[in-house]
């Protein structure tokens, strides 16, 4: 399951190799042409305008001589110009194709990584989601993906740099082997210096980055707690602290800048020294008659073209290490344990639920032991129990967020493990106590399970959920955006919108996980009344602390210590001695006691 990080990268590259190869192809061609231009100019200056013999391979010289030699080209310089322009336009075209291909590659790769990570996260298990930090994941999905994307592009840069160096030296050795050797001595020197420099400065960079991070946190804390700062009148203290951090951060960067100044300047000096070395030795060679002035010129041009590629080698190696780390971090997310949505049967669901001897534990903590009960289709079952008694876990097991350790849960007689996960979840609708709403309009939130929202159905759902009137009271009605960018809904409104959302989804089994807690008793009763009047054959499981909510259920289960200790209708349980009757008694007691308290 968990592939290596390079397997992950390979998967993302699928379908994009053509861009990679196109890019590399045009890099090679382009690098070659980028040297042909100066070569042509060198020869033209030297041997056409000047009088030196042609410094070209024999077959090219033959072609030139066949066309009429130096005299012809001097008289018809436009031929040379046309060739030159043709070379440059080819080079420009190669550059265009290279940029195009690598941009396609980069953007596709970024797209693929973002999308596949997103989808893997959406099908990762419930337990996985309970254990992650959103901020950390987002960091991986943005910064790390970007680092890897850039790096893959830089890989093609390596080819460019190396091919430029190779071609330059190929031309240069063609002109003068000894001079090329002299020039080459600086390549390892400059690369080594770059690597050394990058390594040396890295630690200081990190330290300065940290100082910046600390300052940033300091500001963020200050801005996040304006009330604390003002409530204690500590603005001056905050400013003084900020000033300290601000100065420290500034000084660290300034000091590092002073050091970097030397590094950079030396980095710039080395190529100049190389030029001096090559030029002065070249002069010796030329005076000795070993090479011509034209050759010196083109040699110098090639030599100058080397400065950038050589210096970027060090940078690329530094980035390679960073990219490997990022790739590993992304792959960790990609390797999140996945749910199986493919297997299992797709069936029409009526809603007969049965728990048979179900046991379940979280780590070492046993939640249920041999839990058994049935919910006949179309009926309402209510569950009462202390907080932390595992009421919600029953629902989590029913929706297969977790699988039971032993025992069996069936719907219409079929083990839920044999039902396709889509089918199951579409039919088990759970409304949570603190529902999550999306930053979309209310209409979109309610019809989120539907690609083509049916407004009539939306309104029907909100009417049952008793939230239609509140929504139409908003300025923008159903188009009101929920959350940070829009209207903040109260806890009760959120719960009711979530109920409408689950009703809209058409689930055959409806579970309320204490999701009427923020709604007042009257509205609560109306929701239940409307639900039974308007939705036929729906199976309902209600978890609640409120006796009024539970009372009308066809069956009430009292859960205690991981077992069902009582079950029956309200009237049956109210007559039995036991937890249920005690709870009912508490309610009437309180009303009595409050009356006494009011009198004093």
């Amino acid at each position: 399951m968990t592939g290596s990080k390079y397997d992950f990268l390979k998967k993302q590259m699928k379908g994009n190799y053509k861009y990679l190869f196109t890019s590399v192809f045009f890099i090679l061609i382009g690098s070659f042409f980028s040297f042909l231009g100066p070569k042509l100019i060198g020869v033209a200056v030297d041997s056409i305008i000047g009088t030196a013999p042609f410094d070209l391979p024999a077959f090219v010289v033959d072609v030139i001589n066949g066309a009429g030699g130096r005299g012809y080209f001097l008289a018809n310089i436009w031929v040379v110009i046309l060739v030159f322009l043709a070379i440059k336009i080819t080079e420009a075209f190669c550059e265009f194709m290279r940029l195009g291909a690598s941009n396609y590659l980069g953007e596709n790769l970024g797209y693929n990584m973002r999308q596949s990570i997103f989808e893997r996260l959406q099908s990762a298990t419930f337990a996985y989601h309970k254990g992650i930090y959103t901020g950390d994941i987002i960091q991986r999905c943005s910064t790390d993906i970007d680092t890897v994307r850039m790096f893959v592009l830089e890989m093609t840069d390596i080819i460019r740099v190396v091919s430029k160096i190779v071609i330059a030296y190929w031309f240069m050795t063609g002109i003068s082997l000894p001079l090329a050797l002299i020039s080459f001595t600086t390549v390892p020197l400059v690369s080594a210096f770059s690597v050394y420099f990058t390594g040396k400065i890295q630690k200081r960079f990190l330290a300065a980055d940290e100082a910046e991070g600390e300052l940033q946190s300091r500001v963020q804390e200050n801005l996040s707690a304006p009330r604390v700062v003002r409530a204690f009148g500590k603005q001056k203290q905050e400013r003084d602290l900020f000033e300290k951090g601000n100065n420290l951060f500034t000084d660290m960067w300034t000091n590092m800048g002073n050091l970097m100044a030397w590094f950079w300047a030396i980095g710039d000096l080395l190529p100049v020294l190389q030029v001096i070395l090559v030029l002065s030795s070249g002069t010796f060679f030329a005076v000795k008659g070993l090479i011509t002035p034209g050759q010196i010129i083109s040699f110098m041009v090639y030599n100058n073209m080397l400065a950038w590629p050589i210096r970027s080698l060090g940078r690329i190696f530094g980035n390679m290490a960073k990219a490997t780390v990022s790739l590993g971090r992304i792959n960790e997310v990609y390797s999140a344990p996945q749910e199986d949505y493919d297997s299992g049967i797709d069936m029409e669901i009526k809603g007969d639920i049965e728990f048979k001897d179900v046991s379940f534990s979280f780590g070492k903590q046993q939640i249920f032991e041999n839990l058994s009960f049935t919910v006949p289709a179309g009926q309402t079952v209510a569950i009462l129990g202390a907080s932390g008694s595992g009421k919600s876990t029953i629902l989590a097991l029913l929706a297969r967020f977790y699988d039971a350790d032993s025992g069996q849960i069936t719907i219409d007689g079929v083990d839920i493990k044999d039902i396709n996960l889509h089918t199951l979840r579409q039919n088990v609708g759970i409304v949570m106590q603190e529902p999550f709403l999306f930053g979309k309009t209310i209409r979109e939130n309610i019809s989120i399970t539907d690609r083509k929202p049916d407004m009539e159905k939306v309104i029907e759902s909100t009417q049952i959920a008793q939230v239609h009137r509140s929504i139409t009271n908003f300025e923008n009605g159903y188009d009101t955006i929920v959350g940070e960018k829009g209207v903040t809904l109260s806890g009760g409104q959120k719960q009711r919108v979530a109920i409408a959302r689950t009703l809209y989804s058409g689930a055959k089994i409806l579970c309320f996980d204490d999701s009427l807690s923020a709604v007042d008793s009257l509205t609560d009763a109306n929701i239940r009344k409307e639900l039974h009047k308007r939705v036929e054959g729906i199976t309902t499981i209600i978890i609640s602390q409120r006796v009024n909510t539970l009372m009308e259920a066809d069956k009430i289960l009292v859960l205690d210590g991981g077992r069902i200790v009582q079950q029956g209708t309200h009237s049956q349980l109210a007559e039995q001695e036991g937890i249920y009757r005690e709870i009912v008694k508490i309610q009437s007691d309180i009303i009595e006691q409050t009356k006494q308290e009011a009198q004093g």
Partner: protein, 614 residues
């Protein structure tokens, strides 16, 4: 200016906005001069180096002599060393300016933000202010250093190369230099387009991040509703949009660079075409021609850089405006000039003139509406609170319980009417005077990075260790602090996140106790902590209330039963007021809340006892 839009574009260049931030450069004038000197020097030297090649060719190679070559090498080396020097001072001064200007701006922005009132923070996302203070200042610092010097350097290079080219061959130089405006125009157009497209791409990038954020937070709901395919599809849309927008920017680059290449080769082709004639006429020798060509090769790069720098500076217009707009944001709670004269401002408090506070509070005909709203939440409200009295404010989450406290603490001022403290309108004294006399405990206990000790001493930095421990003991925080390996010197992490919420709250109560304010505010202090901590806090409340005028905002009613006055708030309005018994007798909102909560509590107790019995 849209506070939610990080990437809002300024419409056009506005010099006045820039003039306002120019003052930040003035202290670094000397560094700017040095930087410009080095930049121009570097540019000129870069342009001289090709002449050295020519010199070598003419004087040694063509003359076929090595006479003086050592002098030449020495001179070249000397030039290289001077160049090294230029490069060093260039970077050093640039960083100095960049960091210095950035630092001064950050300081001013931060100081200004401290003076702003709470309404500004309610209406502005933290990220927005943070970006102003931290990143906009940095970009602007870079303008006056790197951008400015890049401009100078490249301009110097182009100019000295142009001069050299004119020396070599005036007619050819004229012709080549004529291509400069073409390139500049072309580059300018591309750069502007690129800037806009890159912004659009960055904006889409934040949409993608928001998509991740929302759908990771909502992942369980997405599973539960089984709408994964729809959500994946929606993300594919914004993700595809990201690819499209990023590519749109890339496409401009893709066309731009080859275009520049072709234009520059056009210039070269022209030089080449003219050269046989020139050389024939004896107007140019071969070596000079080679140098001339190498200038032509390298001339267009700097021009491209100049236009890029230029468009970048233009692009920072929006940053300048955002910085200025933050500096322009005015506090809504301010002290009159004569009050400042007597009591001082937040940075220079004249504590010697501050009166001792007793804690009598009176609302006199107070009407109030929040600045961003039309609706009055208080109308002609009158209430006298004697020093030492406890006022409780109850209601559902989001019902507007904080309003009265906001007014008492002068985070907001009454729209009309007066609030009197010890019989004097509080606007007659400085807000720092009042706020320095508060002990405040918030719902979410914000701590600051640093040690527990730093945090407890926050409001009272001069407190002795004994006093700190005493406060911690009162807040029942001492025992858990002592158990930590580093004790009071334990680092609490950013926002105090290394401690549990309950521990944070206890520390924040110790902080409030040590602040020794005469007015105590407990703003839903127990709503985010676990049951055990809640009981601890409830247990110490009586001790805290002693000798203080206090306001307790609560959702749980068990905490407020004993308050002298209970104010019930719903939908922003005060709906009931009285003591516990009076309110129960009324059988209204308070009665329903109270019985409901009691029922829940009793049930919980019942279940707990059930287990203890077994």
């Amino acid at each position: 200016m849209d506070r939610h839009d990080e990437y809002a574009l300024a419409d056009r260049f506005n010099l006045n906005e820039w003039k306002r931030i120019y003052k930040y450069v003035i202290p670094y004038k000397k560094h700017v001069y040095m930087l410009l000197f080095a930049a121009v020097g570097t540019g000129i030297f870069d342009a001289i180096f090709p002449m050295m090649t020519r010199f070598a060719i003419t004087n040694f190679i063509e003359a076929k002599t090595l006479n003086g070559i050592w002098l030449f090498v020495a001179a070249f080396l000397a030039l290289a060393l001077i160049q090294l020097y230029f490069n060093v001072i260039y970077t050093q001064h640039a960083i100095r300016i960049e960091m210095g200007v950035g630092r001064d701006m950050r300081y001013d922005l931060f100081s200004h933000v401290q003076e702003l009132s709470l309404d500004y923070f309610n209406a502005t996302p933290v990220g927005f202010i943070l970006a102003r203070i931290m990143s906009d200042t940095q970009s602007l610092g870079a303008i006056f250093s790197w951008q400015l010097s890049a401009f100078a350097w490249n301009l110097a290079y182009v100019l000295s190369a142009a001069v050299n080219m004119f020396i070599l061959s005036p007619p050819l130089a004229t012709a080549v230099l004529l291509t400069i405006p073409v390139v500049a125009l072309l580059a300018g157009k591309f750069q502007k387009k690129l800037l806009v497209l890159n912004r659009i791409a960055r904006k889409q990038n934040s949409v993608v991040t928001a998509g991740y954020n929302e759908n990771i937070n909502g992942a369980v709901t997405i599973k539960e509703l089984d709408c994964r395919h729809r959500i994946n599809g929606e993300f594919a849309d914004i993700n595809g949009e990201m690819r499209r927008k990023a590519f749109a920017a890339k496409r401009v680059e893709m066309i731009f660079f080859p275009c520049i290449m072709v234009v520059s080769s056009g210039a070269l082709a022209f030089v080449l075409g003219m050269s046989p004639v020139m050389v024939n006429k004896g107007a140019l020798d071969v070596a000079s021609l080679a140098v001339f060509i190498s200038y032509t090769f390298t001339l267009l790069d700097p021009i491209e850089t100049i236009t890029r720098t230029f468009s970048r500076i233009m692009g920072l217009q929006a940053n300048v405006e955002r910085v200025n707009s933050l500096l322009d944001a005015a506090p809504t709670v301010t002290d009159r000039a004569d009050v400042v004269e007597k009591y001082g401002d937040i940075y220079n408090a004249k504590k010697e003139n501050w009166e001792e506070i007793k804690g009598d509070i009176e609302f006199r005909d107070v009407s109030f509406k929040y600045p961003d709203s039309e609706k009055y939440v208080l109308e002609n409200f009158n209430l006298k609170i004697k020093a030492g009295t406890c006022v409780a404010i109850v209601g559902a989450t989001g019902a507007g319980k904080s309003t009265l406290v906001n007014l008492v603490c002068r985070f907001f001022e009454p729209t009309s009417g007066q609030i009197l403290i010890d019989g004097v309108d509080y606007r007659e004294r400085s807000y720092l005077w009042l706020q320095s006399n508060l002990s405040y405990v918030l719902q979410t206990p914000h701590l600051f990075s640093g040690t527990i000790l730093d945090n407890i001493k926050y409001a009272n930095p001069d407190a002795t260790m004994e006093q700190v421990i005493d406060a911690a003991k009162q807040a029942q925080a001492h025992s858990f602090i002592e158990k930590l390996p580093e004790g009071y010197n334990t680092e609490v992490g950013q926002g105090g996140d290394k401690l549990s919420t309950g521990q944070k709250q206890l520390v924040s109560i110790a902080r409030a106790i040590l602040a020794k304010g005469k007015i105590l505010v407990m703003d839903e202090a127990t709503s985010s902590v676990d049951t055990q901590t809640e009981q601890m806090i409830n247990g110490m409340t009586d001790q805290l209330l002693k000798d203080r005028t206090s306001f307790i905002i609560a959702h749980r009613l068990s905490t407020v039963k004993n308050a002298d006055v209970i104010i019930v708030v719903d939908e922003g309005k005060i709906i009931e007021m009285g003591n516990h018994r009076q309110l129960l007798r009324a059988e209204g909102h308070y009665y329903r809340m109270y019985t409901g909560q009691w029922e829940e509590k009793r049930q919980d107790e019942f279940f707990r006892n059930l287990h203890n019995d077994k």
